[in-house]
């Protein structure tokens, strides 16, 4: 490439540039516009009265004292919502959920009444003054007890239903059983296998806990019949559809506005009772109503993740070559099936559990049950149930390595899908589009001097010290997804982009996705810049306002780049096709005589004869166009991906454990990610730092614990572990590039890989520190106390 061409290309700041973020300018000045920053004239504040019990009947609710508090305007209960049929709402998991408790409460801190007052202090006073009389019922807390013959029935409202959207139910507390693969064939391989291993592996209940909690401002204009809701939503269009279904307001009169969102990580995908209560309250009062969740309510009631009680089994030959996989999980979905999943995939993408390995036979099964805990099952910085799946396989391959006595890196090499096998269809039906696993692993092992580490570990073990080396070579599945397999409430999970190029060559693009810190305003502009040859600086990106953006399923499951990014590239290509016709017309040559050169079409063999995209943009708005061509330079793309994308990576974690305190120190964490084409390396690295830190949090400290009566035992930031700068390790990042063959620019998505791949890497490191003592598994979280207990039970810390 000539110096001049390179200069023009650099000026675009397109794909591959570590372009500084456009969104920072407002945030560093404190000028972000988060939902709690919104203040509308006459706005009331809503506070929720919550249940102290996990399971109880409501005998009565007395509002009278609350209504006497000066400034309290109204107190809404299920009975008030009933006449407008808004006391229940549909969930994203084909179930229904009580907006305000209807005669019963099903989990602790459930929403019972909504107090409206002139400000947040008065609303809290009012909520304190509401008197609710309960009759406590026995609670089901442990999902393993939910299906017992004598277990209390949690959902009496659907006790007579033999199906809640995902196949037959076998017990009033059973939600669904979902399976994939060849059971008989898999069982047969297990029956005759040289080696089999089995482990019970828990992904405990955790919470994504973004720094900003959930909230909204609902504003109903009675005269126009229009509802506007400013809210913390990762999926504004899906919310609009749910609100339309629920309220009967035409969808065209509902506007959902995302604004700036203080992190989501899956917490902000579902529709929560607080949003609906605020909407109803605004419809009833005719003034705007704000509801902002407290931190304790956030951790306790909206969008928990995981609670997957798994059993992993592998069958292999004596060299550790895996012959079959059999995984199952008992899924605790809480009191309502508000699990976010595609309709046809009630256990999400759990069947990616064959990982990066060539496994001839596989079978997996998930049973979901109701318990008296908060509803949810969101994907915490992952695609639906991918963390659970990857955790199982990445743990089990280590268990197998220990059983057959093969090194943990070597056993992966022996089982990897080989580069020449791609596209590779797994035994559970996914077609992995691309991958290059051996290269990634070898690069990482070399970088950390794996052999040296193993030698050091052997020496440490000989002197009684605990050092662990964890490996994770994961394959993710992201970018939901092809509409033939993925829909929510019947709506396909496509995404969209609408680009308008202005006469002077700047452009605005609107997408159906929704940034929560990922930097979309920066990166989407880079994709369009490269496609159109217009500087990214002059490309404005807008998301989140359903009145402006085309319909899309939002940002979760790393779907923005795979689906939204693809839509952006393809919309730009439609524009480019038209631009080429205009260029040919202006240059008086045939289209075939033109070639693309960074930011212009030029005549082959005569580079001086050229029209830049900017010149073409102007021409598109004049009369000088080919005969019959429409004016303007716009395009919209609704992109339905042909397949998911499969980012992968190889991670190594080294830990040193103090056997006297149980303290686990992460000495080194080396993460190599392959997310295909890299749009903005700076942002990718930032996403990986953040994802690894969240993986560290989950593996080393997070859990939402309960007692036997369903009472929370740790739901504030006093107890719930969010790592600070002191305990967070330093991250080393690396990459390989294996583009996705079916994505328009070869990109795969990256934000979730470090979380998904990181969690097993930490656990593998901790377990590896004890492997020489015969330990094959330890459940998360690996807090100092739990690790110390482990040391104690093994007797390794006697002085």
């Amino acid at each position: 490439m000539s110096e001049e061409t390179l200069q023009r290309e650099n000026k675009l700041e397109g794909v591959g540039a570590s372009r500084k973020r456009k969104e920072d300018a407002r945030f560093i000045r404190g000028q972000g516009s988060y939902v709690d920053d919104i203040k509308l004239p006459g706005m009331l504040f809503g506070a929720i009265v919550r249940s102290p019990y996990a399971h109880a009947r409501i005998k009565s609710i007395d509002k009278s004292k609350a209504l006497k508090v000066p400034g309290v305007v109204a107190v809404l209960t299920a009975d008030d919502l009933k006449p407008v049929n808004l006391h229940w709402m549909p969930t994203l998991g084909s179930d229904v959920q009580a907006v305000l408790a209807d005669k019963k409460v099903w989990f602790q801190l459930q929403e019972v009444a909504f107090v409206l007052a002139t400000d947040r202090y008065t609303a809290a006073d009012g909520a304190e003054a509401v008197e609710v009389d309960y009759e406590e019922l026995p609670a089901v807390v442990d999902p393993r007890k939910a299906l017992a013959a004598d277990a209390p029935v949690i959902r009496e409202d659907i006790a007579d239903k033999d199906n809640v959207g995902h196949g037959p139910r076998t017990h009033p507390n059973h939600i669904f059983t979902w399976e994939a693969g060849d059971k008989a064939g898999t069982d047969a391989v297990f029956a005759s296998a040289a080696v089999t291993v089995r482990e019970e592996i828990l992904n405990p209940r955790v919470h994504p806990c973004p720094l900003e909690t959930c909230g909204c401002v609902a504003s109903f204009d009675k005269v126009r019949g229009q509802l506007t809701v400013y809210m913390t939503s990762q999926a504004p269009h899906l919310v609009r559809t749910v609100v339309a279904m629920l309220s009967g307001i035409p969808e065209s009169k509902i506007r959902i506005v995302g604004g700036d969102i203080g992190g989501g990580f899956g917490n902000k995908v579902p529709v929560y009772p607080g949003y609906v209560a605020a909407i109803v309250a605004s419809i009833v009062t005719g003034v705007p109503v704000k509801w902002i969740e407290s931190r304790i309510d956030n951790i306790s009631t909206t969008g928990f993740a995981r609670d997957y009680h798994g059993i992993g089994e592998l069958a292999a030959d004596s060299n550790g070559r895996i012959k079959a996989l059999r995984f199952s999980a008992l899924a605790d979905h809480g009191a309502f099936n508000a699990h976010v999943s595609a309709t046809k995939l009630p256990a999400g993408l759990f069947s990616i559990c064959t990982g990066s390995y060539d496994i001839p036979k596989a079978y997996c099964r998930v049973d979901a049950v109701y318990t008296n805990k908060a509803p949810g099952g969101v994907a915490y910085r992952c695609s639906l149930r991918v963390t659970e799946a990857v955790y199982l396989i990445e743990r089990m391959i280590d268990v197998l390595a220990q059983k057959v006595g093969v090194d943990k890196a070597e056993i992966r090499r022996r089982n990897f899908v080989k580069p020449e096998q791609f596209p590779y269809t797994t035994a559970l039906g996914w077609t992995l589009d691309s991958g290059n696993y051996h290269v990634a692993l070898d690069k990482v092992l070399k970088a950390v001097d794996y052999d040296g580490l193993r030698a050091e570990q052997a020496a440490k073990r000989a002197s009684g010290q605990l050092m662990g080396i964890g490996i994770s070579t994961f394959t993710e599945i992201v970018g939901a997804g092809p509409t033939k397999v993925c829909d929510i409430l019947g709506i396909g999970l496509f995404d969209s982009c609408d680009i308008r190029v202005n006469p002077t060559g700047s452009a605005i693009a609107r997408l159906g996705t929704m940034s929560q810190g990922q930097g979309h305003a920066t990166t989407y502009a880079q994709i369009i810049a490269t496609e159109l040859g217009l500087p990214s600086e002059e490309i404005q990106i807008e998301e989140g306002d359903t009145d402006k953006a085309p319909y899309g399923a939002g940002t979760w499951g790393s779907r923005s780049t795979p689906v939204g990014g693809a839509a952006a590239a393809r919309a730009a290509r439609k524009i480019k096709d038209k631009a080429k016709k205009i260029a040919a017309h202006l240059l008086e040559v045939g289209e075939r005589d033109l070639e693309w050169d960074v930011d212009r079409f030029r005549v082959k063999g005569n580079p001086a004869a050229a029209k830049t995209m900017k010149e073409i943009a102007m021409a598109a708005h004049t009369s000088n166009l080919p005969d019959g061509m429409e004016k303007g330079l716009d395009a919209t793309e609704y992109y339905d991906p042909p397949n998911m994308t499969f980012p992968f990576g190889a991670y190594v974690c080294v830990v040193d454990i103090d056997k006297y305190t149980g303290e686990t120190k992460v000495r080194r964490f080396y993460a190599l990610d392959d997310c295909g084409t890299r749009i903005n390396p700076m942002i990718i690295e930032g996403q990986i730092h953040g994802g690894l830190t969240e993986a560290f949090a989950v593996a080393m400290g997070q859990a939402v614990p309960f007692d036997d009566n369903g009472n929370h035992l740790g739901n504030s930031l006093m107890d719930y572990f969010l790592p600070t700068s002191v305990e967070t390790p330093k991250w080393e990042t690396d990459f390989t590039v294996t583009p996705s063959p079916h994505h328009p620019i070869g990109a795969k998505g990256v934000a979730e890989s470090p979380h998904v791949g990181g969690i097993p890497c930490f656990t593998n490191a901790v377990v590896d520190a004890f492997a020489h003592l015969g330990v094959t598994h330890m459940d998360m979280p690996h807090t100092s106390f739990r690790v110390w207990q482990h040391c104690k039970s093994l007797g390794v810390n006697k002085r």
Binding site: R29, Q31, L211, D260, R295, E685, G690, L717, S725, T728
Partner: protein, 162 residues
């Protein structure tokens, strides 16, 4: 409801007067009465640091301070950092070093880092990590925040030397 009280203090160099209930927290006064929505609320229990402001030359979590305690005080929030359109070195380095993602922790982080660099203009990485531990970030993993504080420290000390 207890009787409201008048409170006067300096906010980013300007005199402000408010009338508040004795129980009102500074973060709510700043955000709801004084339109300073830069400091955020992440917990209201003093754990996250999103609400950090500088009060009489000390970092405080403004969700744990009563407004009535601020009579006569000097309060600095993120809104007071840029001077006549010029960004503060910390604001600039947070941008250049990609030390923010969702931006929710950023005002508190910058305000805390400001106090750190006042007390210790050349902190080591360990000192930065220790000093910033009261401010949680869920997005960045802190590595670039540490980097940004180091860059700002360098910039400020070379400016001071010049």
């Amino acid at each position: 409801m207890a009787k409201k009280q008048a409170v006067s203090f300096k906010l980013n160099g300007k005199d402000v007067d408010v009338v508040v209930e004795p129980r009102e927290l500074l973060i709510h006064t700043l955000r709801e009465k004084l339109q300073h929505t830069g400091p955020h609320i992440g917990c209201e229990t003093s754990h996250c640091g999103a609400c950090t402001v500088d009060l009489n030359a000390m970092s405080v979590k403004s969700c744990t301070v009563l407004t009535v305690q601020c009579e006569g005080a000097c309060v600095l929030t993120i809104e007071g950092f840029a001077q006549s359109g010029e960004l503060h070195a910390l604001q600039e380095s947070f941008h250049l070093d990609h030390a923010l993602q969702c931006g929710y922790c950023t005002p508190g982080m910058i305000t805390r880092a400001y106090r750190l660099l006042k007390e210790n203009p050349n902190p080591t990485e360990e000192e930065i990590r220790y000093w910033m531990a009261g401010n949680l970030c869920r997005c960045t993993g802190y590595q670039n925040i540490v980097k940004a504080v180091q860059s700002a420290a360098r910039k400020l000390s070379s400016a001071a030397a010049a």
